[in-house]
Amino acid sequence: MKKLQQYAPFVIPALVLLFLIGLFARGLFLDPTKVQSPLIGKAAPKFSLPGLYDPARRLDQGIFQGQVSLLNVWGAWCVACQEEHPVLVDLAKRKLLPIYGLDYHDDRTAALAMLQKGGDPYTAILDDASGDVAIDWGVYGAPETFLLDKHGVIRDKFIGPLTPELIEDKLAPEVRALQAETP
């Protein structure tokens, strides 16, 4: 008992210190810019937006019904989206799943110019000039990519540009798993 009292003043602070070091070490490896979306597991928010190519043609959340699909939020003003663009073009060539685009807060002419120059990976593009629909989807920075199942339910969200590694290791297996689900 005497021994315990003797060592307690050294052992207890050392344990507290170790606990704090552990806590801070974990904090170092967390990325606070990636905020998990509360929309995962929920149906795609309702919207009605003009198409980018043909503003007279309006599109709504019905486009996600019937097959596993992606919704990629991008803009010609967004540098990371420009970096991501060729990766999306490659993904589209694989015909794994339709990729829908949400052109976020963008100048239509600039967006069309970017697609003409780099290629168009999108099955259809929604023109969200005001950014209101993006807020409904909980978007806070482009690029962001949502993975939706056959019923139009959001199943995963990728914040930041998709990379070939991310597609190989995470996205493609998830897509295959969702495609294997019974309709």
Partner: protein, 140 residues
């Protein structure tokens, strides 16, 4: 004295321009009560682009969009609770500048008081220990 005056005038200038820079994309409400609610709400939400700023303080495009949406919702007669749940449903608790009291966040709220209590207990024990030692030393 001169330097003090200079420093003071700089401070005043900074405060004045600071207020002037708080731009609203929408015209202010003519109803003072609505304007107060709108301003209070914009201070309740976090701009997720520049995470340590409130929606009221941030110059980011997203914050401007948030302000416009909050403005429209206040104008449409939505309650503060409705506006808060609108934001939390889309962006999660992190969008609130003050974290809500929940099972997962209890430690955030209670932690500092627990630490304070622990320090007081340790302090009390140390002082008492010392007093006992001194008594021991005094006794023959």
């Amino acid at each position: 004295m001169k330097r003090l005056l200079l420093a003071m005038s700089f401070t005043v200038a900074a405060l004045v321009t600071g207020a002037a820079l708080a731009i609203d994309s929408e015209p202010p409400f003519t109803d003072g009560a609505l304007q107060t609610r709108y301003e209070a709400l914009t201070h309740e939400f976090r701009c997720l682009v520049c995470q340590d700023e409130t929606v009221a303080d941030s110059n980011a495009d997203l914050a401007a969009d948030f302000r416009r949406q909050i403005h429209d919702m206040v104008a449409a007669g939505r309650t503060d609770a409705e506006i808060k749940s609108y934001m939390v449903d889309r962006y999660g608790d992190f969008v609130l500048y003050r974290p809500p009291l929940r099972v997962g966040t209890v430690f955030l709220w209670v932690g500092p008081f627990l630490l304070l209590a622990a320090c007081l207990v340790v302090g009390y024990l140390v002082v008492r220990h010392r007093a006992v030692d001194e008594e021991d030393a005094d006794s023959p």
